[in-house]
């Protein structure tokens, strides 16, 4: 059975055009899937419908056999613990230390008092430190997050998601604010997480070349609709043009790059 199953997912804001229109696809456990599409195509909204940061208008999202749209309160919080999320702007609490930020990933497992006071068990702390060390941040655990570079902040973001022990990672433009070097480190890290920890990865990307290099499967979205769904090898120039419209001149260049590799 698929880990994530999306059926006829529709999201509209007020009377405006639909942000997402009848989206259906499913993702098997262990896949590395990239969603590509122009800005405003609905990629971010699609990810947020999966962990219900955004409420959907109609359709169904089933994650690990549980229907997400009707979840409320504690059940919704438990569901969210199984899905880690990584953001373009990292979204860390800058005034807190690296370790404190990573431990925020455990809040979903805590009762109110433990969470409010920040009481974490030794096991949880040890696990957080172990994950930070594996991401090369062992030296930085007591640093405040506003002292880190962009690439380091994103790795803290990944650590915060991993400490949840999730089945799946949702990554919303994880490398859009990073320099090429840091971007490569982050994408390599996500690939390792996918292969070694067997965690399913669903990543929104701007860069078609990055999607082609890393993803096992690509979903192309434009104006809230799925235009393409298949392995990178099947993604041809016409489809890229369909996904990105007329602005695809530079993207053809990135396709050539793929064949150069």
């Amino acid at each position: 059975m698929a880990l994530l199953q999306i059926e006829a997912l529709t999201k509209s804001y007020g009377n405006e055009a639909r942000a997402l229109d009848q989206i259906s696809f499913s993702i098997q456990a262990g896949e590395f899937v990239a969603i590509i599409g122009p800005s405003g195509a609905g990629k971010s909204t699609l990810l947020r419908c999966i962990n219900r940061l955004v409420d959907l208008t109609s359709g169904d999202v089933r994650f690990a056999g549980v229907s997400v749209p009707t979840l409320r309160g504690g059940a919704l919080r438990r569901q969210r613990t199984q899905i880690g999320m990584i953001f373009q702007h990292y979204n860390l609490v800058n005034r807190l230390s690296v370790l404190e930020n990573v431990l925020h990933g455990r809040l979903g497992y805590k009762n109110m008092v433990q969470g409010v006071l920040g009481l974490y068990s030794e096991t949880e702390k040890r696990e957080a430190v172990r994950i930070l060390e594996s991401l090369g941040l062992g030296e930085q655990i007591y640093k405040r997050c506003d002292q880190l570079s962009g690439g380091q902040k994103q790795r803290v973001g990944i650590a915060r998601a991993l400490v949840q022990q999730p089945k799946m990672l949702l990554c919303d433009e994880p490398i859009a604010s990073l320099d090429p070097n840091s971007a490569k480190i982050i994408m390599d890290t996500l690939q390792q997480i996918n292969q070694k920890l067997d965690i399913t990865v669903l990543v929104n990307l701007h860069q078609v070349d990055v999607a082609l290099a890393y993803a096992q499967r690509i979903i192309g979205v434009n104006r809230g609709r799925v235009i393409f769904d298949g392995p990178p090898a099947e993604l041809q120039q016409e489809q890229i043009q369909q996904i990105y419209g007329s602005e695809s001149g530079e993207l053809i260049f990135s396709l050539r790059e793929r064949y150069a590799i």
Binding site: L53, R78, R80, M85, H89, R95, L107, R144, G157
Partner: protein, 276 residues
């Protein structure tokens, strides 16, 4: 070259719009009123030179010859302590109440109808001056320290709710979203993200309010019978007509206010250091 013979029209830097015209008319009206009021002063036959001399003499007594007579130095310290206590207590009470209500007044933390309810209520509380709240509560509690504490707490809370809520609203929405995405509850998000992010802003606002409450507490000592240095000043001026003693109280307040300012600056600097 025939155009040159015509005079060029004057260029107005500021066009004569309705707004400009009304401002100019207002200023003219105020000037006329001021001139009129000068001509109608009731000076009761006191000459300007004589009055100035008396005033300077009073300032000399107040500022250059301060000394205590009806109270001892220990009494002065105790009175100052009472006033500081009144200011501090009402600030702490106000801050605690304001913290919890401000969470529900912040747009990014609570539904809009609740924001408007609390913001509307606090706008009303702030619109009425502190002294009037104290007098209002004096009806139930009687004139004295109890009415002063309740009335001043009321106004402090109204002020701090607005200040705190605005600090909360400046928090990056993404951070709150990230904690929600990991399954954190509302209260957990508040204490793990909202409080650490806005702590220094909250401290700043609380200090500002403590300064306000300290000066209000002096006034309350005199007008609402709350005791403290304000009451002693009231006695020295209205009862003993002793300007020298009034001067001593003034200096005591000045010294404390400067110490408070130094302490607040020092605290903020230390917070800033730990932030680096």
């Amino acid at each position: 070259m025939s155009q040159r013979s015509e005079p060029l029209p004057r260029i107005r830097v500021r066009p004569l719009t309705r707004a400009n015209l009304s401002i100019q008319l207002t200023l003219l009206g105020l000037t006329l009123l001021t001139l009129y009021s000068f001509t109608t002063f009731d000076t009761r036959g006191i000459g300007l030179v004589e009055a100035l001399q008396d005033m300077l003499n009073n300032f000399r007594l107040l500022l250059l010859e301060p000394r205590l007579r009806s109270v001892s130095f220990a009494d002065l310290l105790e009175a100052l302590f009472v006033t500081v206590g009144l200011g501090l207590l009402t600030t702490v009470f106000g801050a605690i109440i304001a913290f919890f209500l401000a969470l529900f007044a912040a747009q990014n933390l609570a539904p809009i109808w609740l924001n408007n309810l609390i913001k509307g209520g606090t706008a009303f509380i702030r619109a009425v001056p502190t002294v009037l709240w104290v007098l209002f509560f004096a009806v139930a509690a009687g004139m004295g320290s109890v009415a002063a504490v309740i009335g001043m707490t009321f106004h402090s809370a109204g002020y701090l709710i607005k200040a705190y809520a605005e600090s909360f609203e400046e928090i990056d929405a993404g951070v709150l979203e990230a904690l929600r995405a990991s399954g954190a509850s509302w209260w957990q998000t508040v204490f793990q993200a909202v409080v650490p992010t806005s702590a220094s802003a909250l401290l700043s606002w609380t200090f500002v309010r403590f300064e306000i409450n300290f000066s209000t507490a002096i006034a309350m000592g005199a007008t609402a019978g709350a005791g403290g240095i304000g009451f002693d000043m009231f006695m020295a001026s209205a009862f003993y007509l002793d300007l020298r003693e009034l001067g001593a109280f003034t200096y005591a307040i000045l010294v404390f206010a400067m110490a408070l300012e130094w302490f607040a600056t020092h605290m903020k600097a230390r917070l800033g250091k730990s932030r680096e």
